[in-house]
Structure formats: C-alpha cells, structure tokens
Symmetry: C2
Subunit: 375 residues, 2 copies
C-alpha cells in the first residue's frame, strides 16, 4: 500500500498528466509549487497564492527549525494552520540549506552539526531529526535528508556522497511514521554520472518511497547538461510514483523536464524575481525597472489575466519599483506566480491533447523573440 | 452653487453624520482617508483598501510631482486610473511636505523654490502650480496651497504666516477650474491663537470654498491643546460645508475631533504603524514584535473581522515581523486600516443613535485598560 494515489490519465511521450491524492487535497500534475521558505510565500497572502491556481507549496525545514521552531509550529497546530494554507505542503529536508546557509558545518555519518546563520546557535540535523521536524510541521510530503552533491564533483566524490545519502535515506524510511495521505520521498543523487544515478535509483526503489525526487541538479550545470542527466535518470525511477525535480526552474527548463517525465517542481525564481523587478512573459523576462517603461500604458503581459496585468500599467509597476514601494514586489510576485501556474495549465492541456512537443517549440520560439515596445 | 452636496442626516452635539457626493462616488462622513503618498497605500492593494470600507484616499502633490510627475500621471489617464482607485481622491497641496522634506527652500510671496529630496533637482511650487498639479492628477478634492505654520510660533509669526496663506488661498481659488463633483478646500491657519483662527476663517469664507480644513494642528502641540483649538476654531467654519482635520490622528484624537464637528480625517499612523509592528486594538496598541506573542494562538484583536485577525495568530504575525517578511507589513497594515474604518463605522452609528459621548467614554476606558495576555 502506498501513501498517495497517483493516477495517470494521459501520456504524451514521457510526459504524464496525473492527479496526486493527499491528506490535504488533490494535486494536478505536472505541478509547480511556490516556495514558502519561512511559512510565507514572500509578498503574497495565502488567498492570493491559491488564486493563481497553485495547489501545493513548499516549506523549508532548515529555516523553520531555526525560527519559529518545529516544536512551536506543532504546538500552534502545524504549518497548515500557522500559515493558513490548508492544502498540501511539501517540506524539504534541510540538507541543501544547511550546506549553503549555515556556518561551521561538521558532517559525519550521523548527520550535520552546524551553527545557525541567524544567531550562531548550535544545531544538529540527522535523518531522524529531519523526519521528526517535518512531522512536527505536519508536512504532507516529507523529503529524505540527503547531501546535495556539489557541482562539479569527481565520480569518486559523487559516489561517496550519493552512498551516504542512500544510507541516510534508509534511516529516514525507518523513522518515518506512515499516515494515510502523507508520504515520504526519496532523492536520487549521483551528479552527472549515469552509473551512479542508476545505483541511486536502485537503492531508493529497494527501500521503497511514496515518490522520488531527482536531486543535485539546477546547481550551475546548465540546461543542456541537466536535460542530459534527466534523459538517463528519470526512466530509472519507479513508473507508478510521482517524480519531483527539485529547485527547477525557468519556464523552458520546466517544459523540457516535463517532456522527460517529471511531475513536480519548485523554484524561488518567480517569487525572487518578482521582488527584484523581473517579470515573466511569453516573450521572456522584462526588467520593469528599465526606463523604457516610464510611459508605457500597456500591461506587463497582454496575454495574462492576473490582477497585476488586469488592473495596472507597466508605467505604474515601473513607478512602484522606482519608488521602492512594497506593492511593486506584491504585484510582480503575484504576476510571476500566476504566469508559472498558467504555464503548468498550458502544459497539462498540451499533454492531454498530445501536443506537448508543439507547445514546447512554440514557447521556445516566442521566448526567443523577446519583449517588444509599443508601436 | 457648490461643487459637492454635503447632506447632514443626523447630529449629536457638534458631531454630524453626513454624505458627501463627489464626481467619484459618495462618502459617508465622518470619514477616514488612508494615505497613498506616491500613488499606493503602502503594502496594500486597492482592492484590499476598498475591502476595509475606506471610501476616499489621499495622495501627495509633493511626492507625485517629483515621481512619477504630474504631467506623466495626466498622460496615463489620471491618478484614479494609474493606481486603480476609481473612488474619490483628495490631494494635499504640497505645502506641508515641501517644508518638511525638500532641501534648500526659499519662500517668497510668489511661492516656494526647493530642491527635490530624491535627486536635488530644482522645482517651484506656487498656489497656481499646486492647483495645476492637482488638476493633472485629477484630484476629486484639491487642497489650497498654504504654509503649515510651525509649532510653536509667536502670535506675530503665526499672523504673518496665516495672512500669506490667505493671500495664496485667493490665488488658488482664482486658478481653480470648477467642475461638477470636484472641489477646492481652503485651509484655516492661525496656530493656537483664537483671533487669528477667526480672522483666517473669515478670510476663507469670504473667498468661498467647497470645504474647509483645519490646518497647523497635529504638529506636536498635544491632544489637549488641539482639542482646545478645535473647540474655538471649528464653529468659525461655514456650517454647510465639510470640515477636514489634516493629519489626525490616533483613534481617540479622531473621536474627540468628531465631537467637535470634524467630518474628514487622514493620517499615516495606521499604515506606518502596520509596517513597524504596531497593531491597533480596542485596548490600545500592541507591539507584535514583543516576545510575549511568540506562542500566542489568539488573533491580534478578538473583536476584529479583518483577514489578519480572522486567519492568523499573534504568534504568526510575530514570526513574520521577526523574520522581516513582507507579509507581516501587509497583514498588520490591513488590520490597522480595517480597525480605523471600524472606528469610523462605530462613530457614525453612535452619531445616528445620539450616543457619541457614551461611545467616546467607553473607547477611552477600554484603551486605558491596555492589552491582556491569555489566561
């Protein structure tokens, strides 16, 4: 018995259209999860996030364990209640952030000892503690605690790192308490090395997880290399379970990964870009701070129905960013998250109509044209 | 013929319940106008502002003339369209900000020459230019350009300042182009001196305005002194026109001013406090950053129906402010504006039921009790 039903209703090449049924609701896949690092999708109300069409969000174990603390979130009724997101939440394991954000790290077979980047306090993350924290947060999907293998890594380094993650994956499985509609995902590692990806996939399948993530990508290797790894790595994962590509990505990264069989995505790009003035459109990104928008009465994206595009001009958005007004970050984040959900809706329609390759080439051609000024 | 109909439907002592009909909609008075300094009520969408019950907002001539520029706003269809606020907008004249924010000011009979606090560029504000800017912004209510007399001022200083403002008031009236549903308000000055307040009121009434503001208060004189001035100054203003107390204030300031015959208010306090972690409740303000809220599952204000109080705990709001998350500023601003509109709804009900004195004493008693911790 598995924790989740993942029902596939259509296929187009390796791409799958599906529904994942969880304790907190049903997710249409392929899905994009906005990132809510410390219990908030930055600059958005939960109602606004829902309004974009997002069905599932991501929370960060590393950030939440430090502040407000997992035991505190548990006492307050769990992360869903705390942040008013009754829908599904996937939490990462903390493995990535502890290596990229924390100070004075010491990694052993047991786990990672580190100092908080906030106040220097000492903490220990182990596979067992990571799973416990995610249970305290009431995560719908718990991610196995692993080491995100740095890029580039030699094959020897990548093998040692991956095998440590596989031993940790077993410890995560052993300590995870199964509940209906809740699940634990394993994470495939192995860097760019096909044999290691295969070994990792086999190790995870032998342990048995409710879903499988492809880890160690989107770390600077570039789209071509990433797609190359996915071509080989994704077919190694169990066919009947959801597949999650962590930390990806830009719109065409997502389209290409769906074509290679990925069902789930998360990325900070739409939210972070929204706060720095980068807006996504079908013709690529637009830097709304650029002076050419000063007098432009058009919406950011003529094809978008989000509140930012329905009600405001580029000139207004430009003004908000120049004046450093919070509403600028709010509106552009809203637009970008809406854009990403529009993209996922488009992808799902294309799969159901078996025209994903056409969808992908049209999206690439339009993005290559770039933004145009008013006539 | 006057530009606005101001229909008084009930009275309670000097307090008036009314409706002001403008080109952009009907306002229930007494009213509180949230401040949208540079074309946005900070950290709020216009929909959210409307949702609190706000019917009219304020924009700032000084800020908007510098960025994005009045001519630009006009080309883009006016401030209502630019910022998606189709309702009434009152714009200040720039007189206050040019003295408090701009650099290297030179004031003459003609007007004020100054350098922008943003980029050092040189500008001139005169009564005629201020009125023109407000017309370009498409302000529903244009405020006369005046000098906000500093506090304290000697009677001689206050007289000279007030008489300059009265000469400027005449020039504003002369250059203002009347349109149905649009109006021009004069501003009474005279500091704390009864004779000067009377002279100013008579000068304004002789010119004839569509509404009358009490200026030069809320500049550090304290509530007792302010109420003392209002006791004398408000009855001097034409009875049939709306009366506006500029830049006021805290909740009990507003209640007391309504009891003295004021119909309109604006103040940055609810929005600014919302961004710095101060939340308004019937029991006074709460500093949500205080550690005593760390584990408090209660809403900020049990009696409030705003989204922040309906959906989130003090513990969550505290967390957002500690983590410096934008959503903290968004939710607390939302609450504070909702709180202020609740206050105005309460005041209007009390006037209609002739129990404003009771309302005022109950509000004062509750605020004096202070916030209570959970049992």
């Amino acid at each position: 018995m598995t924790a989740f039903a993942h029902k596939i209703s259509a296929r187009d090449g390796a791409a799958r259209l599906g529904q994942l049924t969880t304790a907190h609701g049903v997710i249409d896949t392929p899905t994009f999860m906005p990132v809510g690092t410390v219990g908030t999708v930055k600059a958005m109300t939960p109602d606004a996030v829902r309004g974009t069409g997002a069905q599932m969000i991501l929370g960060n174990t590393y950030h939440l364990m430090l502040r407000p603390g997992a035991e505190r979130v548990d006492r307050l009724g769990g992360l869903h209640k705390f942040m008013d997101w009754p829908g599904p939440i996937l939490t990462d394991s903390g493995g990535f952030q502890v290596m990229s954000l924390a100070k004075l790290r010491k990694m052993t077979e047991q786990g990672v000892e580190f100092q908080s980047h906030l106040d220097g306090s000492s903490h220990m993350l182990t596979p067992e503690r990571s799973v416990e924290i995610q249970r305290l947060l009431d995560a719908t999907v718990t991610m196995a605690f692993d080491e995100c293998t740095p890029f580039p890594a030699t094959e020897i380094e990548a093998a040692a790192s991956m095998r440590l993650s596989m031993r940790w994956a077993q410890r995560c499985r052993d300590s995870f308490v199964a509940r209906p509609g809740y699940g634990l995902f394993g994470i495939q590692q192995g860097s760019v090395y096909p044999d290691l990806r295969a070994e990792s996939a086999a190790a995870l399948a032998a342990i048995g997880f409710d879903g499988y993530a492809v880890g160690g990508l989107a770390v600077g290797e570039g789209q071509e290399t990433m797609f190359g790894v996915l071509d080989h790595a994704v077919p190694l994962l169990p066919e009947d379970r959801p597949r999650y590509l962590m930390g990806v990505g830009r719109p065409l990264d997502i389209v290409g990964a769906v074509q290679r069989g990925i069902d789930m995505f998360d990325c900070v790009i739409p939210t972070r870009s929204g706060r720095t003035g980068q807006g996504f459109t079908r013709r690529g990104t637009v830097n709304i701070r650029n002076a050419r928008h000063l007098d432009d009465p058009r919406p950011l994206d003529e094809a978008c129905a989000c509140p930012a595009c329905a009600k405001f001009s580029r000139a207004y958005l430009h003004h908000l960013f120049r004046a450093e007004e919070i509403l600028g970050a709010m509106l552009l984040t809203w637009h970008n998250l809406h854009y990403y959900q529009d993209l996922m809706r488009g992808i799902r329609s294309a799969i159901s109509e078996r025209r994903l390759a056409q969808f992908a080439s049209e999206a690439a051609a339009l993005e290559a044209q770039g933004d145009i000024d008013p006539v």
